[in-house]
């Protein structure tokens, strides 16, 4: 049964759905709220519950410390209301971009392609029965169809994982995501069993790291899977360009894992506003291509990669306010 949820800051009030987290209820109702992974990992959606009963027992003790729980803080993405609740958002950073993301919605995706790109990296392509109005950089949640089976032979049907969108918003009803296949993964291990025509649940868009309008040069940094949202930005800007210039730093341990490198390299040849810098090392790439303060930097990738990238970019004089980071947690 749903409960009433009131946002103390704005006095907005609405009903939660059955089995719906507080965060998903806020997003469904278009509330601007700071959040990140929706998986209880990144601790970005840490806000207060001022009143009411709730269950946040799934929140990790690392992402939500005991003293924070005692203070009334919770991770909204891991919190289910058990009664009517009042929440207080710590701050509102989602509305500062001059552009706002669309409310998430659920559509159905039909698999049109499952392709092994290199090593564990796969491309999954879907045709959607409705467009999601995602902004470049945002992500979707995919839910495997009933009967899908992962690597250990476990039923993967109904299992959901999140993946950044690699396609352009202009593609409307076509979606591509880059997936790392984990041996033993219930979701990713089911990839090669997905046949064209299979139906996958798709919801989104999610995420607050997306292309911000600016007249500054932009540097996009992505690792093996982090290149997904970088591609989305690059594909989106292909049509009208980005006059201030885009530099893509694509970092992977081997050339083969620099997936979609040919597409990116071809753009660098054909666009005066676009530079592509594939590399085996983050440090050398940043040292070679990042300098000055008047630049927006977007970083997409594994948490350790993002942490290192931010450290290196800040050391090159870029303000933390101009660094936008989306960490990818393993989607087994």
């Amino acid at each position: 049964m749903g409960h009433s949820l009131t946002v103390f800051n704005t006095r907005q009030e609405f009903q939660t759905g059955d089995g719906e987290t507080m965060l998903d209820a806020l997003l469904r109702n278009g509330v601007r709220v700071r959040y990140g992974c929706r998986r209880g990992k990144c601790a970005t959606c840490k806000h207060y519950v001022n009143d009411g009963e709730f269950d946040n027992s799934n929140a990790s003790a690392y992402a939500l410390l005991d003293e924070e729980r005692e203070e009334g803080l919770t991770l909204l993405c891991q919190t289910y209301p058990l009664s009517d609740c009042v929440i207080e958002l710590r701050e509102d950073e989602a509305g500062d971009a001059g552009i706002r993301p669309a409310k998430p919605k659920a559509v159905t995706g039909t698999v049109t392609g499952v392709e092994a790109l290199a090593g564990d990296l796969w491309s999954l392509r879907l045709d959607l029965d409705g467009s999601l109005s995602a902004l470049p950089g945002q992500y979707v949640e995919l839910t495997l169809p009933p009967g899908a089976r992962g690597d250990p032979g476990e039923a993967g049907g109904g299992v959901s994982r999140t993946f950044s969108i690699a396609s352009s918003p202009r593609d409307l009803r076509r979606l591509e995501v880059i997936v790392r296949r984990y041996p033993g993964g219930v979701f990713s291990g089911a990839l090669d069993g997905l046949q064209p025509g299979a139906e996958v649940g798709v919801s989104g868009p999610y995420g607050q790291v997306f292309l911000r309008p600016a007249n500054r040069p932009m540097i996009l940094i992505g690792d093996e899977t982090g290149i997904g949202p970088v591609l989305s930005v690059a594909r989106y800007t292909k049509a009208q360009g980005w006059p201030a210039g885009i530099t893509v730093l694509h970092v992977a341990p081997s050339e083969a894992e620099l997936v979609h490198r040919h597409e990116l390299a071809a753009w660098a040849d054909g666009r005066t506003d676009f530079e592509y810098h594939p590399s085996g090392g983050l440090g050398t790439a940043v040292a070679a291509k990042v300098s000055g303060e008047d630049v927006d930097v977007y970083v997409f990738g594994a948490p350790a990669f993002c942490e290192q990238a931010v450290f290196l970019v800040e050391a090159r004089g870029v303000s933390s306010k101009q660094i936008h980071v989306e960490q990818f947690f393993p989607a087994h």
Binding site: G30, I99, P101, A102, S133, R170, L172, R173, L211
Partner: protein, 65 residues
């Protein structure tokens, strides 16, 4: 043909909503116009192209699939 309004370009002039109200609506929360993502039928094609031409921001994109 489908239509897409680039949210980075749309400035909310609403010309498209006037030209082709069956195809566009204004999202007040985001202050941008949003196009229907259905195929544009032949009966609405002329209105659609008029909306594309008249958009002061050149924010409306036609997508042929």
């Amino acid at each position: 043909m489908r239509l897409w309004v680039d949210p980075y370009r749309c400035a909310g002039h609403l010309t498209c909503c006037d030209e082709a109200p069956e195809l566009f609506e204004f999202d007040e929360e985001r202050s941008v116009a949003v196009a229907s993502d259905e195929e544009v039928g032949p009966e609405l094609r002329s209105q659609a192209m008029s909306a594309v031409r008249l958009c002061p921001e050149r924010a409306i994109v036609t997508v042929e699939e």
